[in-house]
Point group: C2
Chain length 388, copies 2
């Protein structure tokens, strides 16, 4: 049983755990507590949409040596038993008297000596998916054991994707690329934007996405002022540029890229801005290398936009990608994370068309020793048009 | 600007805030800190799929008197400005030096006197959507102000749905009902279960869901042993019973119900078990009243299943529903939450077909003074069949 697993061979998960344990050894921690869907999927292969229910906490403990231990609600046992994890401890959740805290505390106390540390992610871009009151009870139950920040252990491990992960990421990017290639089937003058969103989600499913965790978009004659709102009933008009951005999922892995498309002839300002975004991406694809930092990627994109006559937007211009729609690092002037071979990243330059409105352009890459390899099919240089 | 709003009129949100503030007064707290998508949507109308990105925390503070204050990443300002919230404070997130902690601490210190309490949900079915390290910094910055558990304030308010909310919940239940009525278009002998899942999601979108946050299901000749796994490539066979369960979303509100359907003639054991689930639901629809507790609902369902000759499964037999796939309370023997008029709930009896395999049946209701009103179109008494 121990060598069967879901999504990937057990050897893939063992290699991940070995890398986490190397990071734990460097930081001298005796166990790592994981509580989020992505961290738990990364270590176990436990993939379910049941995380949508906030009712129950789920725990996986990675000890300094040996295999992980799952401490989970009983409802998850059949699925966890199909992963490579052999040590599965369950309770009947939700339990208002003790929702897994005693079972988790017992598990941790046996794995972490009294003078040692337990780590859990506590830093930027993390959260603890369990009730705060239960975390307080847990730390009391741990007695003298210290609870320290495990963010770096997790992030330095997860941010380097294996060959098997890159294959999955390429697959979902290819699926989304095929859906984007069919936008002319669903985006026409007069179609309400909310119907475009629904149609686009159906295209993604038809092309092979397991589910569609994220669709955003917007439309207007001079671009858009907001890229996170749900769609409205406003119909597309001739002269609009419409942007669709998706985080579709295949076997737990996300794409995250967008496409702009004009309904009829776009304005010169929109065409020029799109061309600058495309060229700035092209320049950055040529220049990005392992050893640069996230802030350097921001600078490359920013300077390229200016060189091509565009006015860059504030905000991040790219980020990590993998088991969630966005991962660290962030391409901002403040993020000094080193870019390394095997990182999967988005290049996401955005530039103003007017003071209020802008365009955003996004591609997904894997960083190789000699530079980026595209995972998303490259957008066309000239802004695509759907006849109005 | 203050009286425009998204999804509902501003008066709806003002009434919600007034009810929260009444709960805050009873518990003597000066402000309530909210961090999750559902709590923030409930108070503001801020609805976005951008929550899929774990990169940034978002905060809304409800003071003891007066309107809420949003303390959010700058990228969310245009959307928040379209809600009824007037006081919007932003920072450029993600910021590795200070990701909103100073701005939030300043906001809270101005609203909460030094000898008063701040509440945030810390109990069962909650989590804090911000980094643990930042929460520790925040509590330090709050000085002598105490941080206490606000779970009851939020849950006793949110669990009673307004007429406008019940309309939205009925709408998404009706949409899902239309999709379920078309299952014969996508579930046929030989169709892989993963193709059924994709097709069902497309049907939900075609029928008017904005997006599909949850689909689960399973198939087998004697029911299934697991209801949270993603679909596999295994094709449907004549004699299988297939179950599909969905949390589809319309304007931020979830349905959560399932349907079983047989591929050809089901076994007698499956038909008998389905009939018992249907009758147990019928009996509970007739008996449930405000004033009973969640554990009483469990008992009603359990005893009805036994009365109709079925063997009930362990685990909860229903739960709350609304802004997330599941809400409190839980129909278990341990949950003593009082059921009140205006609660939206699921009745979710499950019963064994064999020792390992079971069936689950689910309907969505709103509890009225004189008993349940169905929101989901009632399942047929006899297990539906698709010709094999």
């Amino acid at each position: 049983m121990a060598e069967t697993s879901l999504i990937f061979p057990a050897a893939e998960f063992r290699a991940r755990v070995a890398r986490l344990q190397a990071g734990m050894e460097r930081q001298d921690v005796a166990a790592l507590l994981l509580t989020t869907p992505a961290d738990i999927f990364y270590v176990t292969g436990f993939l379910t949409r049941f995380w949508e229910s906030p009712a129950r906490p789920w725990f996986v403990v990675v000890p300094a040596t040996g295999d992980p231990v799952a401490v989970i609600p009983a409802i998850g046992a059949p699925l966890m038993q199909r992963t490579w994890i052999a040590d599965i401890r369950v309770w009947n959740a939700p339990d208002p008297r003790d929702d897994g805290v005693s079972l988790l505390a017992k598990t941790l106390c046996a794995l972490v000596p009294e003078d040692a540390c337990l780590a859990t992610p506590m830093g930027l871009e993390t959260h603890l998916r369990m009730p705060v009151a239960d975390f307080r009870h847990l730390t009391t139950r741990l007695g003298p054991r210290q609870v320290v920040d495990g963010t770096a252990i997790v992030q330095r491990t997860r941010e380097i994707k294996s060959a098997a992960e890159i294959d999955r990421l390429r697959e979902i990017c290819t699926i989304a690329g095929r859906a984007f290639a069919r936008l002319d089937e669903i985006a026409r003058p007069g179609t309400p934007l909310e119907a475009v969103f629904r149609g686009f989600q159906s295209l993604l499913l038809q092309e092979g996405a397991d589910w569609v965790s994220y669709v955003a978009g917007a439309a207007g004659p001079d671009g858009y002022d907001d890229v996170i709102s749900p769609a409205t009933a406003t119909p597309l008009h001739a002269g609009d540029v419409v942007m669709l951005d998706t985080g579709a999922v295949r076997q737990g892995y996300f794409c995250d890229f967008d496409r702009n498309i004009a309904i009829g002839r776009p304005s010169d300002a929109v065409r020029r801005t799109h061309e600058a975004l495309w060229r700035a991406t092209e320049d950055t694809l040529a220049a990005l290398r392992p050893g640069l930092r996230a802030c350097d990627a921001h600078r490359l994109l920013w300077q390229a936009l200016e060189r091509h006559g565009a006015r860059p937007c504030a905000g991040r211009l790219g980020h990590g990608l993998g088991l969630t729609l966005t991962e660290w690092p962030s391409f901002t002037p403040l993020d000094e994370t080193h870019l390394r071979e095997g990182m999967v990243l988005t290049l996401e330059p955005s530039a103003h068309v007017t003071d209020r409105r802008f365009l955003v352009h996004e591609e997904n890459i894997v960083l190789r020793a000699d530079g980026p390899e595209l995972l998303s099919p490259r957008a066309s240089q000239a802004l695509a048009e759907i006849p109005a």
